[in-house]
Amino acid sequence: MSLSVLMPVFALMTSLLASVVLFALPEKGYRLRTTINLVAAVVKIALVAVMIWGIARGREYEAAFTMLPGVEFVLRADALSMLFAGLSALLWLLTTIYAVGYLEDSPNRSRFFGFFSLCVASTMGIALAGNLFTFFLFYEMLTLSTYPLVVHRGTRKSLRAGRNYIIYTLTGGAVLLLAIAWLHGLVGDLRFQEGGHFAGVDPSLQVPLTIIFVLLMTGLGVKAALVPLHGWLPQAMVAPAPVSALLHAVAVVKAGAFGIIRVVFEVYGLEAAEAMGLLAGLALVAAFTIIYGSTRALYQIDLKRRLAFSTISQVSYIVLGLCLFGPLGVMGGLVHLVHQGIMKITLFFCAGNYAETLGVHRIDELDGAGKRMPGTSVAFTLGAFGMIGAPPLAGFITKWTMGAGALEVGMDWVVAVLVVSSLLNAAYFLPILHRLWFAEQQQAWPHERRWGRLETSPWLLWPPLVTAVLLVLAGILANVPFSPLSWAELIVLREVAL
């Protein structure tokens, strides 16, 4: 077997094997567990980096076998999969480091890290899936492996959140399965293919294909938290901070958004989807979600809950970008997949730090936290400014590219949506920053823990600092090769012949 077949299999297997080993480890094997976790994460980054390098030079990586009569299991690495795989491999390492520090001394660590690795394996599978069937396989595996993470604390509240999560996602999964099975019955097994399959399709298929598209978007929209399918996300924030980071930045919502990208680009094809009039509706839903999420975020007093509503809003930028139907707009949407991940994970890491170190959960308890935890607060500030879209940070690149893309195709109303949303972002982030830096501490911290001279455990401090640096670099170096923006440009050049 050649290396080009084995690479995607290896990339998947690293976290799958890690998960099996971690489940088997005794609860006390702290050092060994941490070592395995970190080694697996680093190996995965190396594998993904090799594939990114190869794909940039036109290589292809593919492994496939027949699973059921007429249905293939396909793992394939292409430019688009690497956008997602690169993001998740990088953030997995940081989240693992963070989680090791966060869960110190707490029970059930074997279980946690086992499912954590399984979750990342599913994400990698989603990135590498070469057809809808394979995609669905890992999409459902992701649902199952995140449930134990959401209910990890075993409290009444987390169990209720877990139940809601599972009701939403499994129902979404059933709708998705119906759509995929129907599509398979209609046109057979379709590999993801640059440019899609349905350009100039038989007009008699138009009606079923439209219905299938709506079903697909509904199934994927649950994980992508499109309004009105978003109800599970704000509740799921009761999970431990590393899990929230994973859910919001890397795995679950991104899996939904990535699925939408795959379907629009590589199953239907951007042009065919536009010609069938499918994108206009999707654009409206995305635009509404952006405004709705931001508005709701304004009214939250719990920090993680505010961030959760912000996620709902921000993920829909990706979807809205696709619907702009021009190279710049699409590029803006794609790059936001990475940018939102880096920014949101920074914010959730910081929120976790405030909760773990000071016991602070509510925004009005944050007064003066900037003095007590300067490192964390700097990272938080950068993340917040990124979300608002202040130049030269990552979020600015997204909004600028998308805005230019919207004007290019004459969809001026999208610019209005972007402006309103940025104002709302500022309205819900700036008060937090004000409290952090300018307000005086009113009362003692609810639950303070001390780590000597450091503001918090180094395991907890370094990950947000690194991601904060990344989100600055992604903005400043946007035009350097292999930056998220350049990679998105490469995808657009290969995928969309506009």
Partner: protein
């Protein structure tokens, strides 16, 4: 070679049944281990022989039909023989550790176990209607005995109820067989089919077929005739419940399916096929709902069997009056469902037995804290649950996918609802158990930890059920012509 294999397959269980009858529980255990080894090897060898050379008809003792015993050894039959060997070996091994040797009546477990195994092999291989009846009776009587082994009054009540249902079912089936014999003058299923296809004998009435199907559906616990199953499967010892749910109900279904595929095209009708399908659909919905409502763990699993059996009966509408390609797809889907449910349900009952043993209570809400202190047993239960929900990559998912495709292709879109809603409802009852086990309300480990061998067995079965979806294609290719005999 084949002669020895066939003889080994059918006579080892009978010989072992007699042998174990003569000794006590502990000696019976040792004897059984040896027998299991023989049976597994013989089943594997036969499966390999058929996988490489194709199926054949075998006449026991060289006597031809109608006098002799005719066995149909095709890909599907040997696959089920192998499945039986796997599941029965697992249950036998589990029982040898799980059952308390101190209770004197437990020594009867072994002879009953072997009679059951013999009956199952007869049913998978049987080529004529009367032999199938004999196999079925052997299974029913052994199964009733195994349920009664529970010991308490409730177990006896459940066993008697089961016996009544089984006898009524057998009676209906036998009556149907007699009517068929009166009309066609032969008991061989292949001969009857040949006569019908030639047009030598006019199709006549549907009644005998309906009568046989009724009897078999009663024995398979098809809704609304499922009342006997949950008490019997719920109260039996866990290894027994596993055998009953995984294999015994499948035997009567297997006969019904073969009757339908051979005779249904001539004697059946659209309405009959749809009616059976609707009952299956109702079983899925109603069984899952009741499973969700149960407070006792094993009752949850037992009602889940009622629901899962419902899927099997979708075979009838999806193979009647459709093209061969669609029919094949449906048959493959149902076959995968039979196999994956057998593996997953056996795993689930065995794991449930371990969990009940550990927490000392059979209630679902007694499971709090299990996820922390007994992750191993819970993991097997959980994996089996994934297969029952029909989520990828399990065998249950592969089955569901094929059935979805068959429903779509035949235009019978109403089964889509059953398949999708059934999956969600099963998720509801499986997740209810997970949820109970994830509650973290204690910091001390006050649970009994079962021996490792008890915990490993369900895990192996659950992993097999999980992996089935990934190797579905090769497994299906061995039963190249499921339910169809090769030419004589």
């Amino acid at each position: 070679m084949t002669l020895w294999l066939m003889a080994g397959l059918l006579f080892t269980p009978l010989a072992w049944a007699v042998l174990t009858l003569l000794v006590d529980f502990r000696k019976g255990r040792v004897v059984t281990w040896l027998g299991i080894l023989v049976q597994v090897l013989v089943s594997l060898a036969l499966w390999a022989a058929v996988a490489s050379d194709g199926g054949f008809y075998y006449f026991l003792g060289g006597w031809q039909a109608p006098l002799g015993i005719e066995l149909r050894v095709d890909g599907l039959a040997v696959t089920f023989v192998l499945l039986t060997a796997l599941v029965a070996a697992a249950c036998g091994w589990h029982a040898s550790v799980y059952l308390d040797p101190g209770k004197s009546w437990h020594r009867y477990f072994w002879p009953l176990f072997w009679f059951l195994w013999a009956g199952l092999n007869v049913v998978w291989l049987g080529g004529d209607l009367f032999n199938l009846y004999v196999g079925l009776e052997l299974i029913s009587l052994a199964a009733v005995g195994l349920v009664a082994l529970g010991g308490q009054a409730a177990a006896l009540r459940a066993a008697i109820r089961y016996l009544m249902a089984a006898l009524l079912g057998s009676l209906a089936y036998l009556l149907g067989v007699a009517l068929i014999y009166g009309q066609f003058g032969t008991l061989s299923l292949a001969d009857v089919t040949a006569l019908l296809s030639d047009g030598t004998v006019a199709a006549g009435q549907t009644f005998p077929l309906v009568l046989m199907l009724f009897g078999l559906a009663l024995k398979t616990a098809l809704f609304p005739m499922h009342g006997w199953l949950p008490p019997a499967h719920g109260i039996a010892k866990s290894p027994v419940s596993a055998l009953l749910s995984a294999l015994v109900v499948k035997a009567s279904f297997y006969i019904a399916a073969r009757l339908w595929l051979d005779l249904g095209g001539h004697l059946g009708g659209y309405e009959l096929a749809q009616l059976i399908g609707v009952l299956g659909g109702l079983a899925v919905i109603w069984g899952s709902w009741l499973a969700f409502r149960q407070t006792k763990l094993k009752q949850v699993v037992a009602y889940s069997s009622v629901a899962q059996i419902g899927y099997l009966f979708l075979l009838f509408p999806l193979t009647w009056g459709v093209t061969d390609a669609i029919s094949l797809q449906a048959q493959q889907g149902i076959t995968l469902q039979v196999i994956s449910h057998a593996l997953a349900k056996a795993a689930m009952f065995l794991a449930a037995g371990n969990l009940i043993m550990s927490v000392g209570s059979n209630r679902v809400d007694a499971l709090a804290g299990v996820s922390r202190f007994l992750p191993f047993s819970l993991f097997s239960f959980g994996l089996a649950g994934v297969s029952l929900m029909g989520l990828p990559p399990t065998g249950g998912f592969a089955a569901k996918w094929l059935l979805l495709q068959a429903s779509l292709a035949s235009g019978q879109w109403w089964w889509l609802g059953v398949l999708l809603a059934g999956g969600l409802l099963s998720a509801a009852y499986v997740f209810r158990v997970y949820q109970a086990s994830f509650i973290d309300n204690t910091d001390t480990d006050h649970f009994f930890h079962p021996p490792k061998s008890l915990e490993v067995i369900p895990l192996i079965l659950a992993l097999l059920s999980l992996g089935l979806g990934l190797v579905a294609e090769p497994v299906l290719s061995v039963m190249a012509l499921p339910f169809e005999g090769s030419s004589r």
